[in-house]
């Protein structure tokens, strides 16, 4: 599964020093590990996607707005959970933020408890995503271990074809299909055909891995 070792970090991006100080005190006291940044650029320079956690973004900042930071993260292929803080919620901005994958949108002033709760949820979401990503990674790793024939058998089997049909398509005996299939189930560690179907979907969805 995922690398549980590193604790999650709350990345605070706000140009207001008092907000950075008060929020990091609050969140620190609540047991979170917090890193603060005075601008979107400073955050983007420091952030790597290996760090688990979530991002708290002030929507309005002088140099680079929260939305722009979100866009930059998406362009770079990162999708950490983002919690937006806004002084004044206008609908178009909110819609844009949510479409960009924001997990939350809080209108200031925010009660400390609410902020903590939402951050906790965001971190859970991150953990879930990272676990899922780690799963996919291991599925792909196992998939990479399969022989070409085994991959063919796996793909056809997960498309719902019977051993006989597969044998016909591949021009081999059904018995050979049977043994390939058993080896695929074993190599992939799948408990049944349903799980193998999920694994297959992961592998087909990421053509980068071959």
């Amino acid at each position: 599964m995922s690398e549980i070792g590193a604790p999650p970090t709350v990345f605070l991006v706000d140009d207001d020093a008092a907000l950075r100080e008060s929020m990091s005190l609050l969140l620190g006291q609540a047991g979170f590990q917090v890193r603060t940044f005075r601008s979107g650029t400073a955050f983007l320079d420091a952030y790597t996607k290996d760090e688990p956690g979530c991002v708290v973004l002030d929507l309005r900042m002088p140099e680079m707005s929260g939305l722009e930071v979100q866009e930059a993260l998406l362009r770079a292929g990162y999708a950490p959970p983002i919690l937006f803080l806004s002084g004044y919620g206008d609908v178009p901005t909110t819609v844009r933020a949510i479409k960009g994958g924001a997990v939350d949108f809080l209108v200031k002033p925010v009660a400390g408890e609410l902020l903590i709760e939402r951050i906790r949820q965001a971190l859970q979401e991150d953990a879930r995503q990272r676990a899922a990503a780690a799963d996919q990674l291991s599925i792909r790793a196992l998939y990479a271990e399969l022989t070409a024939r085994e991959r063919e058998v796996m793909l056809l089997a997960t498309k719902g074809f019977s051993n006989k049909e597969i044998a016909q398509q591949l021009g081999i005996s059904p018995r050979t299909v049977e043994s390939h299939r058993a080896r695929v189930m074993e190599k992939m560690g799948a408990g049944g055909i349903a799980e193998l179907c999920h694994m297959s979907a992961v592998c087909l969805a990421s053509p980068t891995v071959t």
Partner: protein, 575 residues
């Protein structure tokens, strides 16, 4: 002479003393030679002695009389030739005697004067005063022996040159040959009289001129005493219930009166007193001050001014001018401008509202987070006092910060009268940019000063000038946002020239509309939906009320430039 006839009738009168003695001795010798009784002889001798003594006495008398006559002639000549005219009048004003000088003054021979009524030579109007003068002089003999004086005008006689003459009659009563007489000296005072008349005429003219002026005018001497006032001054004093002496005001020590003023106006009255003294001493070329002088019924304002006398004279003219009408008109336009400015500020804040709310939520959020931390520390039973202090200090600071923002906003929206006070221009710029900071950030427009503002002080209503800056900055930000230009910058520059400073607000927007021109400032014209056109009109009014100018021009490269000037006080000039 008077004594000539007595010489012929008296045989011995001209004999010398020596002759008389000789004759007396001869007589005494004859008496001794003749036979006569002793008694007869003694009698004869006595008679002869008496006769001789009488002769001697008579002679001495004659000598004395001669001396007297000689002296009298001398005095008569003095009387006739004295530089002062003399005349003697009987109780009816008939000339009993007159000297030659008097005759020459009257332009008539003395012979024609004596025995004639003096009234004949007087102007008709002068006759009765003359007769009553004579009467008074004679009546006064018993009570008041002093000379009495009468001024009168004489018709010139045939021997006189020039026109009417003015004489002064100085008279005293005396008892003469014909009883009560009025003895008068005649002085020709025509020259003095004419000079005086001229002076009177000029005084009169001056007074008439002063009186027709609507301003209240008083003339002060070198010590600050009033020596003349005009009618407006007296009327004003009367209207305001001053006593008679104060109404005329003449003789009143104006400077001392100012110094002794008490109550609300004591301080300004003292300044007025000092200034008048300075003007009289010519340490000040002049002094002007406006002041309110309200009654229970209406508001009034006056302008006080003091100017020194010209020439070598010490003193000053002080003028109080009623400027109520001008003040009311100014007041009216000021009020109109203030309420328009107020409206424009509300308008501007409406536009800035979203940004301002954001600005306000910053400290509130921070305070809330600090508070949450404090609560957590408390619930966890923390003993970390340093952290608690940090957190609670944070709460306090952030609440104050929110309060400051509200105060700034309240100040900006407050309706109040124009107040001129010295303000540093960097303070003006800081306040205005603070109000538009978030608005600019939202619109992604950078507002910056091209270089640090010079440390100059201007005498302005800070709020109104701040408003002008806010209006111009918002206007530029909107222009940039509306046009979506690539570069999004508004720069503020301060240029100081001789006697004024110029604010230059340049933007990278689309520039002025081609046909805008002066219409840009028209209160009913706006190129924007938010009504900033009104903001521009009021901005121009405000700058005008401060003695400056506001105008717009297209920049050479890109965007528009708005410029406005404010007069710089000379004392505040650097260096």
């Amino acid at each position: 002479m008077m004594t000539s006839h007595t010489r012929a009738s008296r045989g011995t009168s001209n004999l010398s003393a020596a002759d008389l003695e000789r004759r007396l001795e001869a007589l005494i010798a004859n008496l001794g030679d003749r036979d006569a009784d002793d008694e007869q002889r003694a009698l004869l001798l006595d008679l002869q002695v008496h006769q001789i003594e009488l002769e001697m006495q008579g002679r001495e008398l004659r000598e004395a009389r001669g001396a007297l006559e000689e002296s009298r002639d001398r005095y008569a000549r003095l009387f006739d030739l004295a530089p002062v005219g003399y005349a003697v009048f009987d109780p009816h004003g008939v000339i009993l005697d007159a000297n030659l000088t008097a005759a020459r003054m009257l332009g008539r021979p003395r012979s024609s004067l004596i025995g004639s009524p003096f009234s004949r030579y007087l102007e008709v109007g002068e006759r009765r005063p003359f007769l009553s003068h004579v009467e008074q002089v004679l009546e006064a003999r018993a009570t008041d022996p002093e000379n009495m004086s009468l001024m009168m005008r004489l018709r010139p006689g045939p021997e006189a040159a020039g026109g009417d003459r003015v004489f002064q009659l100085l008279s005293a009563p005396r008892f003469g040959d014909s009883g009560e007489e009025c003895f008068s000296a005649l002085l020709d005072v025509t020259a003095q009289y004419e000079a005086q008349a001229k002076q009177h005429a000029s005084d009169h003219l001056r007074q008439v001129v002063l009186d027709v002026l609507p301003e209240q005018i008083a003339v002060l001497d070198g010590t600050g005493k009033i020596i003349a006032v005009n009618r407006a001054w007296a009327d004003f004093a009367a209207d305001n219930g001053a006593s008679d002496t104060l109404q005329s005001g003449v003789g009143l020590d104006y400077v001392a009166a100012c110094r002794s003023a008490c109550g609300d106006e004591a301080e300004s009255a003292r300044i007025v007193a000092d200034s008048i003294v300075a003007v009289i001493a010519r340490r000040l070329p002049s002094f002007n001050q406006e002041y309110p002088c309200h009654t229970a019924y209406r508001h009034r304002w006056f302008e006080f001014s003091a100017v020194p006398f010209g020439g070598g004279m010490e003193g000053a003219v002080i003028v109080h001018r009623d400027i109520t009408e001008r003040k009311l008109a100014e007041d009216h336009s000021r009020r109109a401008r203030e309420s328009a400015a107020q409206g424009a500020r509300v308008n501007a804040v409406g536009m800035l509202a979203a940004s301002l709310i954001h600005e306000l939520t910053q400290p509130l959020s921070a305070a809330s987070f600090f508070g949450g931390t404090a609560l957590t520390l408390f619930e966890q039973g923390s003993n970390d006092r340093d952290k608690l202090r940090q957190v609670l200090t944070g709460v306090e600071e952030q609440i104050n910060r929110a309060g400051d923002i509200l105060q700034r906003l309240r100040d900006f929206l407050r309706r109040r009268e124009m107040q001129m006070r010295p303000v540093a221009i960097d303070e003006l710029i800081a306040k205005a940019t603070a109000l538009v900071r978030w608005y600019a950030a939202d619109k992604k427009v950078r507002v910056h000063l091209t270089h640090p503002a010079p440390s100059l002080v201007v005498m302005v209503d800070a709020l109104q000038v701040e408003q002008v800056l806010v209006n111009l900055l918002c206007n530029s930000i909107q222009a940039i946002d509306g046009a979506g230009t690539e570069r999004r910058e508004v720069s503020i520059a301060i240029e100081s020239h001789r006697g004024e400073i110029e604010f230059v607000i340049a933007d990278t927007g689309p520039g002025l509309p081609a046909d805008a021109g002066e219409r840009l400032f028209d209160i009913f014209t706006s190129t924007k939906d938010s009504g900033l056109g009104m903001g521009l009109a009021i901005s121009r009014d405000i700058v005008g009320a401060h003695g400056g100018k506001l105008w717009a021009e297209d920049a050479a490269s890109e965007g528009a430039i708005f410029r406005f000037t404010l007069p710089l006080q000379e004392t505040d000039q650097p260096q």
